[in-house]
Amino acid sequence: MSHKRHIAKAMKCRACHQGVEGEARASFPTLADCMDCHKTPQGQEPAEPEVRAFAARGQELAWVQLNRLPGHVYFSHAAHVTLDHMGCEECHRDMSAVNQALGEADVHLEMSECVACHRSEQASLDCLACHK
C-alpha cells in the first residue's frame, strides 16, 4: 500500500480514513472501500491484484494501527480537523512521499506540546477535555 501513489492521484486522506472529519478515530478503510476503485486494475503494481484476491475470499484487510494513544488520553480527530481546521500534517508525517504503509508510529506528542497549542489557540485546558 503506497500512500504516495494514492496521494499522487489527488486522493485526500479522508477518502480512506473516513472517520477523520466526523469521528474521534480516523479509522481504516474496509475492503469494500478499497474495492470502490480497485474492482478494476488501477496500475501495474504487482501487489495490487491482492486486493481483489482478498475480496474474492471474503476476507478483510488486517490493518495494523501503529499510532496508539496512551490509555488515559482522549484525542478526537473530528474536533481538531473539522472544528479547528487543523491539517493532518500538523501532527502526522507528510505521507505524499511515503511509498508504503506506515512502518512505525509517526506521532510523538508530549502533553506539554498539546497544552502549548491549546493555550495559544485558547482551546480548553480542562483536564477532562483530553483525559479519560
Binding site: R25, T30, Q65, R68, L69, A105, H108
Partner: protein, 748 residues
C-alpha cells in the same frame, strides 16, 4: 491476569513510573487504549457498531443493543424501541458480558477419559463429538427404544426449544422435560386451564393503577419484572406486595403473608368482593364460565364458584392460613374494587411454589376474572408464543411407537394428572427404571445439581445413566459427571428467535443475533441438533433437512418478517388476532379442560365427590416437610434481584451488587429479630441452617423485613437449594419450593 501483564492493563501506573524516571518518548509500555484481544476476530481497527439483539438472562426477552468495538462486545444497553423494556435494562442483562468473556468457558467438546466425576477429559473435535452422539443415539433407535433418550431442556420460548421438540418427535422420544414445574408452571397452567393457552398471563399494564403482587420475586427477578418496571415509568402504580419477605424493590405496602397462604388470600378477597357485590357482573355474565351454576359438556347442572366462595373463605376464617388480619383483607378487597384498574399477578417462583400450587394459581386467576380484569382493565389474555412455520416432521414406525410410550416424569399420568412436566420426578424414574430404563440423558440449559433440589438423588441418577451428555458453556457440576461435554455458544454469539414477556393485546418476538464471532470452538445448540439429525440420517435426517440452524430459522418465518426483525431486533405491535382459543368462553373459573383431563384418571372418583366445583381443584392448606418441633421455622428460598438460573457464579458483578450491607459474598439467612432472640442469634453470627435433608452454612442477618417464623435465603448461591425437600403439588407437579421446615443454630 495470566496473558496480560499489568502494563498492558494499567497504562496509568506505567505512565506515572515512566514520567518519574524521565523516560521520554517511550510510549510503548503504556499503549493500553485497546488491549490486543483474542476475541477481536472479525473486528477492524477503529471499527465501532451497535448490534440489536434480545437478552437471554431470563425469560422476559428484553431488547438489547450491544456496543461492539473492533469485534469486542463492550457494553449492553436496552433497546429504546423495544416494547418490553423501553430502553431500560436490569443488572442481569448488563452483566452478560462477564459470561461471554469468562475464563472458565469450555473451549472445545470434551470426552470423559477418567472415572465419572474425576474431571479427566480429552478435547475432541466437533465431528468426533457429533459422531459419538449420533452413534449412541442411533443404537437406541436401532434397538427400537428411542424413548430411552431423555432430554432435560432448561430453555423455553426459543426456536431452539421448538427444534428440540421436533427432533424428539422424529427420533421417537416423549421425554422432552422442561423446568416449568420448578419455575412458573403454577401460573402458566392456571392460564392454560382458564384461558386455553399455556403461558404467563399477559397483563394490560398500560391502564392499570394498582398492582397486587403475589410473591416478591415478581418485582425483583421474574421474567415479568421488567414489564412491571417499564410500566412504572409510564404510570406510577400503587404496588401492594404480598409475601413473607419484604421485597428489595419499590412497593407501597407490604403484607407479610404466611408461607403457602396466597391462595387462601385470593379466595378470601374473592369472598369479600362477592359478598359485597363488588364483582364485575357484566363481565362474569358475558365471558366467564363457572361463576354461577353452569352445565358441563354432558349437560349436567354444576354448582359454580359463587356458591363455593359465599359458603367459605370469609376473611376471619382464612386468617389462620394467611396470617393476615381480617380487617386487612376487607380493606384490600375494597381497594381493589374501588380502583377497578388493577392487576393481580402471581410471581413465577413464589406464590404458587407450594403443595397447593395449581389451586393457588387458579384462585389468583379467578380473582382477576371477578374484577373484570381480562378485557381492558387489567390482566388480559395470555402469552402468545411464536411458532416456527416448519413443515410436519417425518415420523417412522419406531418414532411413532417411541413417542407413544409414557413420559418418564409421569406428567399427565395418574401421578400428576394436570401437569405438563415434572422434572423433579426424573431421578426416581431413573433409579427405578420406571417405566423403562433411561439409556441416554441429555442435559441442556440447566444444571440440575445446582438448580434443583434433591441433590443426592440427582447425583445417583446421573451416575446410573449409561450415556450422559451435557451441553453447557461451563464445566458445572453436572458436566463434571458427563461422558460428553458439548460447549454451547452463548446467546451473544448465537442466532435465535425468542418469544418475549407478555404484553397485552400484542405479541413480541425477539431476534437474537450473533454480536461477536464465537470466542471458543463452541456451537449453538440448534446447529448441534441439525448436525445430530444429519448424523442419524433416515427419517430423522429428513425431518431436519437444514444445513445449519440459521437455515432452519430462515425457513421458520416469512423472509420479510425476518428482515424486519434483523433491522429492529424483533417484531411487535402485531395485533393478537388469529390465535385459536380452545374454549368457547374467554375465561373458565371451572375449567372444562381440567374436568375432561380428570375424567380418565385414578383420581376421577375423588374429584367428582370431593371437589366442590367440577373442574376446579379445591384449595388446600400447604403441606410442609419436617417435624415442626425439630424444625420450627419455614424456609423461604427466594430469587433475589440478580438471580440467574445456574449463572450467578459466573457473573461476579451480580454477586457484588450493593443490595446488602457489608460483604456481599457470604450466604445469608434472613431472620426476624424475634426469632433470632428465641434461638439466641445475633446479627452477623455464623449459623447452620438445617432441613430434614440438608444443611447450609450462612451468616445470620436480622431483619424486620422477614415474617416471624420464616427464614429467607436467596437462591443461586451456596447449598441453599439443597435444603429444599422436593415435595410437589399432586395435581400439577409444581415443585413446592416453599414447603420445607428448617432450624437455625449458631456455629461457634
Amino acid at each position: 491476569m495470566s496473558r496480560f501483564g499489568r502494563r498492558e492493563l494499567l497504562g496509568g501506573a506505567a505512565l506515572a513510573g515512566a514520567a518519574a524516571l524521565g523516560c521520554r518518548r517511550s510510549r510503548d509500555p503504556y499503549r493500553i487504549d485497546k488491549p490486543p484481544v483474542p476475541g477481536g476476530r472479525g473486528g477492524r481497527a477503529g471499527e465501532e457498531r451497535w448490534v440489536l439483539s434480545t437478552c437471554a438472562l431470563c425469560d422476559a426477552g428484553c431488547g438489547i443493543k450491544v456496543r461492539v468495538v473492533e469485534g469486542r462486545a463492550v457494553k449492553i444497553e436496552g433497546n429504546p424501541d423495544h416494547p418490553v423494556n423501553l430502553g431500560g435494562l436490569c443488572s442481569r442483562g448488563q452483566a452478560a458480558l462477564q459470561a461471554l468473556y469468562h475464563p472458565d468457558r469450555v473451549r472445545s467438546p470434551l470426552r470423559r477419559i477418567g472415572a465419572r466425576g474425576e474431571g479427566k477429559w480429552r478435547p475432541i473435535s466437533w465431528d468426533e463429538a457429533i459422531g459419538e452422539l449420533a452413534g449412541k443415539l442411533g443404537k437406541l433407535r436401532a434397538a427400537g427404544h428411542p424413548e430411552r433418550l431423555v432430554l432435560i431442556d432448561g430453555e423455553t420460548g426459543t426456536f431452539t426449544h421448538d427444534l428440540w421438540a421436533r427432533f424428539l418427535v422424529a427420533f421417537g422420544s416423549p421425554n422432552h422435560i422442561g423446568l416449568e414445574s420448578a419455575r412458573a408452571a403454577g401460573v402458566e397452567l392456571a392460564t392454560l386451564y382458564t384461558q386455553g393457552r399455556y403461558g404467563l398471563p399477559a397483563c394490560d399494564l398500560a391502564r392499570g393503577r394498582l398492582l397486587l403482587a403475589m410473591g416478591t420475586d415478581l418485582l425483583e427477578s421474574s421474567g415479568q419484572a421488567m414489564r412491571f418496571l417499564s410500566w412504572a415509568r409510564l404510570v406510577r402504580p400503587h404496588v401492594v406486595c404480598v409475601s413473607p419477605r419484604r421485597p428489595g424493590c419499590r412497593f407501597d405496602e407490604w403484607i407479610p403473608i404466611a408461607p403457602g397462604g396466597y391462595g387462601a388470600l385470593a379466595l378470601s378477597l374473592a369472598h369479600v368482593l362477592v359478598r359485597d357485590g363488588l364483582v364485575d357482573r357484566e363481565f362474569l355474565r358475558e365471558s366467564v364460565l363457572g361463576f354461577s351454576g353452569w352445565r358441563d359438556q354432558a349437560g349436567v347442572e354444576q354448582s359454580g364458584f359463587e356458591t363455593l366462595i359465599r359458603a367459605a373463605y370469609a376473611p376471619d376464617q382464612t386468617q389462620e392460613g394467611t396470617g393476615i388480619a381480617a380487617a386487612t383483607v376487607e380493606r384490600l378487597a375494597h381497594a381493589l374494587a374501588k380502583q377497578r384498574r388493577v392487576v393481580v399477578a402471581a410471581s413465577d417462583g413464589g406464590a404458587t411454589a407450594a403443595s397447593n400450587g395449581l389451586a393457588t394459581g387458579l384462585a389468583i386467576a379467578a380473582l382477576n376474572a371477578l374484577l373484570g380484569n381480562l378485557e381492558g382493565g387489567g390482566a388480559a389474555g395470555a402469552q402468545v408464543y411464536a411458532v416456527p412455520q416448519w413443515e410436519a416432521p417425518t415420523v417412522d414406525a419406531i418414532a411413532a411407537a417411541g413417542t407413544a410410550a409414557p413420559r418418564i416424569d409421569g406428567a399427565g399420568t395418574a401421578a400428576c394428572p394436570l401437569g405438563r412436566s415434572r422434572v423433579q420426578a426424573v431421578p426416581a424414574a431413573i433409579a427405578q427404571s420406571n417405566p423403562y430404563p433411561v439409556e441416554a440423558l441429555f442435559l441442556h440449559g440447566t444444571d440440575p445439581l445446582t438448580a434443583l433440589p434433591g441433590r443426592q438423588e440427582w447425583v445417583a441418577a446421573l451416575h446410573q445413566v449409561p450415556f450422559l451428555v451435557r451441553a453447557t458453556s461451563w464445566l458445572d457440576e453436572s458436566a463434571w459427571q458427563a461422558d460428553l461435554v458439548l460447549p454451547e455458544s452463548l446467546p451473544l454469539e448465537a442466532l435465535d428467535v425468542v418469544t418475549c414477556a407478555p404484553p397485552a393485546g400484542e405479541w413480541v418476538v425477539g431476534l437474537r443475533q450473533p454480536v461477536v464471532t464465537p470466542l471458543q470452538d463452541t456451537r449453538q445448540m440448534g446447529d448441534v441438533i441439525v448436525a445430530l439429525a444429519a448424523g442419524l440420517g433416515g427419517s430423522v435426517g429428513r425431518s431436519l433437512p437444514w444445513k445449519s440452524y440459521s437455515d432452519a430459522v430462515a425457513t421458520s418465518l416469512p423472509a420479510e418478517t425476518l428482515a424486519e426483525m434483523r433491522e429492529k431486533g424483533g417484531r411487535w405491535n402485531q395485533p393478537k388476532t388469529d390465535v385459536p382459543g380452545s374454549i368457547p368462553y374467554k375465561f373458565e373459573i371451572c375449567s372444562q379442560a381440567i374436568a375432561s383431563r380428570m375424567a380418565g384418571t385414578a383420581d376421577a372418583a375423588h374429584a367428582s365427590q370431593a371437589w366442590p366445583c367440577k373442574g376446579l381443584p379445591p384449595w388446600t392448606p400447604p403441606r410442609f416437610s419436617g417435624d415442626p418441633l425439630q424444625f420450627p421455622l419455614h424456609l423461604l428460598p427466594y430469587r433475589p434481584v440478580p438471580f440467574v438460573e445456574n449463572g450467578i457464579r459466573f457473573l461476579p458483578w451480580l454477586s457484588e451488587l450493593p443490595l446488602v450491607s457489608g460483604d456481599p459474598w457470604p450466604v445469608r439467612a434472613e431472620i426476624n429479630p424475634a426469632d433470632a432472640a428465641r434461638f439466641g442469634l445475633a446479627d452477623g453470627d455464623q449459623v447452620l441452617v438445617e432441613s430434614p435433608i440438608g444443611s447450609c452454612k450462612a451468616v445470620a442477618q436480622l431483619s424486620d423485613g422477614v415474617r416471624v417464623g420464616v427464614v429467607a435465603m436467596a437462591l443461586g448461591r451456596g447449598a441453599v437449594v439443597d435444603l429444599v425437600v422436593p415435595d410437589e403439588d399432586h395435581w400439577s407437579g409444581v415443585l413446592a419450593w416453599q414447603g420445607t421446615r428448617v432450624r437455625v443454630s449458631k456455629v461457634s
